[in-house]
Symmetry: C2
Subunit: 402 residues, 2 copies
């Protein structure tokens, strides 16, 4: 049997790729917890990003987009939680630039190599003095504190390290993110960062990121709202020493697969840690007319408040899945739809199948719920992830600022 | 001062218009409450309807649409709660027709003059024997029991009677509806019925209904889901003796105004009685590029889970209103948006205005919350209604069938 480089892909214990350093600290934006940190590469890295589609793009998000688009290069990203620097006008734009400059000065690099990310309350001006003082205290370590410093209502840090062989050299990809509320298709309140020591040129990385985000981060939904601040940024510093990755490189499929593994793991982590969530929900749609419609139907089902509440209650009311399908404009064989919940077929040819209600109800007590749908209208598929709608979601969002 | 017929419009105590009879009874579909009823006109009435946009249109909805479209005439509508007769296949289509025929036979009229409406659980076959026996027991009364027999998770019946003068004759319009869950733009789980003794030709009535529904029922949202069963049906039996209403009739504006009053009252009643709702929310958008965008922005704000949860919690987090505006594709002056909550300006030129947090919080304890937005991008407006997102919503929908 031939050993392909793809078989070298492994999820490993957390570590930063070669040549990446980080640190985090408490700048005083959140009570008692780290709220400021950075990610630094020893050399300028190739970089790519995707950004919120919300019309009110926060100042740091706009600045980072502009910075990356200059030359697809970053050497550092500085980030804070506790304040989103969003809907803060000219002052906000100025403050984001000042935060970028403070990090650049401390690192003695060009401001155009520094990304900025903020998350937290919208509409309050950034306490710039605290931020500057905080940045001044940051060092270059191998700790994972920065993965916690970006959290808001998340219940835990979300990280993954994947290794693989490219040109027979060990390549490491390490990603982390914050999510929780407002997680919806198209980049809701979510910050995602992926570091890798692979060599891959910026434009190439941008294409790969955009494509992979559409299949992962943009297929999760917690509450249907999209935020003003969110982005996913990738930095690839080439320290692994492989030949630069392009589609014609024989190990390119290995890197793509490892990269998708990192992003889909983080996306699922966000969905499962949605505000107040008690269950991760995965919806797989088959028989779609095309991939776009498969994704649309999967997202509509996983985003339906009625479906989400029924999953919280452990009530296998499949009519709500049908109703969600019917809300879409996707091609559907109206008399040929199948629905299974946790592997038990509940709907066949758009009618109730012969199932045991108790058996289904029992599976709904698990932490993971899978809904499989066949639209019988084609051969394409789509997958989306979300969570249940719980009392706790309402509680968290009824008093977010308190 | 000239007395116009418009000044004759009055909301009066509940009564049926001339020539309308109803009855309701317990057929055994719901526990202990009336679950079957009808609405009968002494003569065939001109009729119009609007129907769910869900791809899975329930059998009774499809049948009523087909029936009305024959000649825009109805003499009766028979309706039940407790079972939606939806996702019930060929059997469901047969049962809806059998329900129609049973009512026609009992009334000794043509089946093509009978509409059918069902609401309740999706995916279970209609217990036709119970329905038939129930219809056999219905009489012709002036009671309002039918307005209760259609309810599901509604907490109270929703009715309104409006009178006005057309050709100096008293015209009565009486509407009722059921709503609660799955109330969203485009006719979610909602049945609405309007009866009037005005004379107005069917096609004319259809145009007026479609237009008015877009400004009323389609501007309410409870949870963003649309159901398979919903419709609004109007019957106008001409018993008031006015000249048939057309746009050239001098009292036509009076009728239009009275008709819109009926529909907007019912729409607001549904929004305020959304599942688990504790507050009615009204969003008024001004400065819209066009009316469609005004409506879109109003609906997006009122439909945002984050906005809904913050209203439940009495937390005036205006950033969530901005974030909802930014999610739309509407024209927005990104540096010129104003937002007021309960009349207190919180955002000016897209930045925090000078307001007292306590003062706003105090107004959020009221049962009605008004959000006024100015997009500063044009001169059109839009309004939408919804409710807050509460623990009770989750509770109701976690175990709807139990």
């Amino acid at each position: 049997m031939q050993i392909t480089s793809e078989s070298s892909i492994e999820v490993s214990t957390f570590e930063w790729p070669a040549g990446f350093y980080t640190d985090a600290g408490h700048a005083g934006l959140k009570k008692g917890a780290d709220d400021l940190g950075w990610l630094v590469s020893k050399v300028p890295a190739d970089a790519a990003g995707v950004y919120t589609t919300n019309q009110f793009q926060a100042a740091p998000t706009a600045l980072t987009k502009q910075t990356i688009n200059l030359a697809h290069k970053l050497q550092a990203i500085v980030m804070n939680s506790g304040n989103a620097n969003s809907c803060t006008g000219v002052q906000g734009t100025h403050d984001a630039a000042a935060m970028q400059k403070a990090a650049a000065d401390k690192l003695k690099i060009d401001s155009n190599l520094v990304g900025v990310a903020s998350t937290g309350v919208i509409g309050e001006q950034l306490p710039l003095d605290k931020i500057k003082k905080g940045i001044d205290g940051l060092g270059l370590t191998k700790s994972d504190d920065v993965t916690k410093a970006v959290l808001t209502t998340d219940t835990h840090a979300k990280t993954i390290t994947v290794t693989c062989l490219i040109d027979n050299k060990k390549v490491t990809l390490t990603g982390f993110c914050k999510g929780s509320g407002m997680i919806h298709p198209n980049m809701a309140t979510m910050l995602g960062f992926v570091t890798t020591d692979a060599a891959i040129e910026g434009n190439q990385l941008q294409g790969l990121l955009s494509e992979t985000v559409n299949q992962t981060f943009n297929q999760i939904t917690v509450d249907g709202d999209t935020s003003t601040n969110d982005m996913v940024v990738v930095m690839a510093n080439g320290q692994a020493g492989n030949d630069s990755l392009t589609p014609s490189h024989e190990d390119y499929p290995t890197f793509v697969k490892a990269f998708k593994l990192v992003l889909s793991h983080l996306a699922k982590e966000i969905a499962g840690d949605g505000e107040g969530a008690s269950k991760l929900v995965e919806v797989n749609v088959a028989g779609a007319y095309n991939a776009l419609e498969g994704q649309q139907v999967a997202k509509t089902i996983v985003g339906s408040n009625l479906v989400k509440a029924m999953i919280f209650g452990g009530d296998a009311n499949w009519g709500r899945v049908m109703q969600a399908i019917g809300q879409t404009t996707a091609h559907v064989d109206l008399n040929g739809v199948s629905v299974s919940i946790n592997g038990i077929q509940m709907v066949k040819n758009s009618l109730a199948a012969d199932y045991s209600e108790n058996e289904v109800a029992k599976t709904l007590t698990e932490k993971m719920v899978t809904i499989d749908v066949d639209l019988n209208a084609g051969t394409d598929t789509g997958t989306a992830w979300g969570c249940d709608l719980t009392y706790k979601y309402v509680q968290i969002n009824a008093s977010y600022r308190s």
